[in-house]
Amino acid sequence: MKIETTVTADETIIAVEGDIDLYSSPELRTAVLKAVPRATTGVGVHLGGVTYMDSSGVATLVEGLRSAKENGKTFSLVAPSTSVMKVLELARLDSIFEVRSG
């Protein structure tokens, strides 16, 4: 898994590539929880390059979402890959997260 955080004037983008699983999700968690309170308006997690995401990855995104709500920030998933979208749709998580294409 590769993570790249870009801070812009309004939103912090965390771009993730590779597999988000039990072993890599702690790294994503650190990045997300660090970015949320510092972001100007909110955080967008770019999931276009994610090849696989398990429930620990979903839990990380859920924690990010909850942290954003506590901090009064927005939290969105950007351009999720097909495999991520499948996970989100199956569990109806698309009704919880703001998902946008780009």
Binding site: A59, A91, R92, I96
Partner: protein, 560 residues
Amino acid sequence: MASVQQAFLVTGAGGDHRRVPVGASMTVGRGGSCDLVVRDLAASRQHLEIRRVAHGYECRDLDSRNGTLVNGEAIAVRRLDDGDEIRIGKTLLVFSLHNEIEAPPVGKTVFLQTIIEPSGSVKAPPSSRSKELLEAAYTLMNSLSSNFNPCELVDNILSTTMRAVRAQRGAVLFAGGNGELKPCPECGHVHTIRDGIPRSAGLGEIEISESVATRVLRNGENVLYQSARSDQVIDPSASIAALNLTSILCVPIRTQNAIHGILYIDTDVADHDYSEDDMLLAAAAGNSAGLALENARIHRDLLDKQRIDQDIEAAWTIQEGFLVRDWPIDDPRLDVYGLTRPAKVVGGDFYDFARLDEDHVGLLIGDVSGKGVPAALTMALLLAEFRLCATGADSTAEVLRRLNERMVGRSRRGTFCTAALVALNLRTGNLMAANAGHHPVLRISGDRVTTILPASGPPLGILPGIDWSDDREVIKPGETLLLYTDGIAEAKRPNGEATEGRDDGEYGVKGLEKVARERSGDGPQVLIEAILDDVDRYCSPLAPHDDCTMIALRYHGHAG
């Protein structure tokens, strides 16, 4: 290696010989301020000096009372060549020039002072001394590799080393967090030996040169201190003098990464100096001790882990107690069976079966995110709360809503739970179901297999105030409902490749459909066990990586 020749003064012979580097200059005499102190009554306080000069070295007599002989001739100043013999009273020093590359020392070795004893005082023939040291090293190795008790190890190391170097007193001290000396972390005492008798002492009871001990602990040096009483440099606290110590041997107990403590040996017996060979043996003992103590620690960690594993297995027995195992056999309207098989010792999957009233039964299946103990604890709590929330609720969605509010309140680190709840009216075959982010339900009607009741909302425990919908279906007598978790649906081929046209190489609904058709005439238990076997075959030779859980109900219809 520098090409400059190194000069040494050598005394003694065989295993007892000592080589002292001369450097740019060196003073020799009886006085404590000399670079090389000789304990020979015939020596003057400042007896002679050896200096590096333009093309070699020279020896200059410093107006000594009894004079200096080089190769048997009294000299005032004399150029030195390799092999020249310098005599002061009864003490013989050999001047040696060498390009010799020294064998790498075990640790960095500091020679603080070297006393050159009168040649007549060698106690044992060198060959027997070497043999003794070798035997000691062998004994050390044997005792270290066969013992996992840290305190016994420490006692063994100390006593073997002390016997070998003929020491009267010694102690092992450990490193505290801030580089201070500590007693044994195991028993809280300092392991000491005095005159062959081991004794546990308090830190305040032992008399050691703390400056030497602390120095070894901090720098990891081997320190050999000979005739310490005459030295003024090493111990500003003057504890060496106060303790009347004549010789100290102190080495670190170390592993590759850290210094764990020190092995300290000293003596107040006059004319008893530890030798370099003694120090090398002690240094080897210190290294081996570090390794052995590390081994003992790893061994104990393993035992601890075994104990934790046993606890976890016990936890699973408790967890299993929450799950239904007494399936109803007295109601002709249904057959029901469920099981869960954790991927680790404990799992986060759960199922439940409940009689809601005379004509209604409820089926629940769920999957807590994550694995292992945290997931198992959440699962146990959820299962207890499900029974609480189901009481008095008039719809499946209401039960999930209640469960969600409870779970959101205490969810940590993004833990969530997918769950599907189905209520069946045994009189009519009417189903009411609510699905929180879980897999749809499989409906098996002969060889017709369909998925029904997909998730109508997100999993439990994410956000408060979520409403799920109550979805409805009607099933006919002879039909079977199967609820399952990720471990089944997402079971993977070992090579991760897609096979038999299944998406992403996952077992999926296609795998379930195949077994369901083959087993359409069988009851829930046979069906579930056949699916589990098929999943195992699918993943073989690996084990499924996630908890595998299923619950199935076959509806026979309401007679009369």
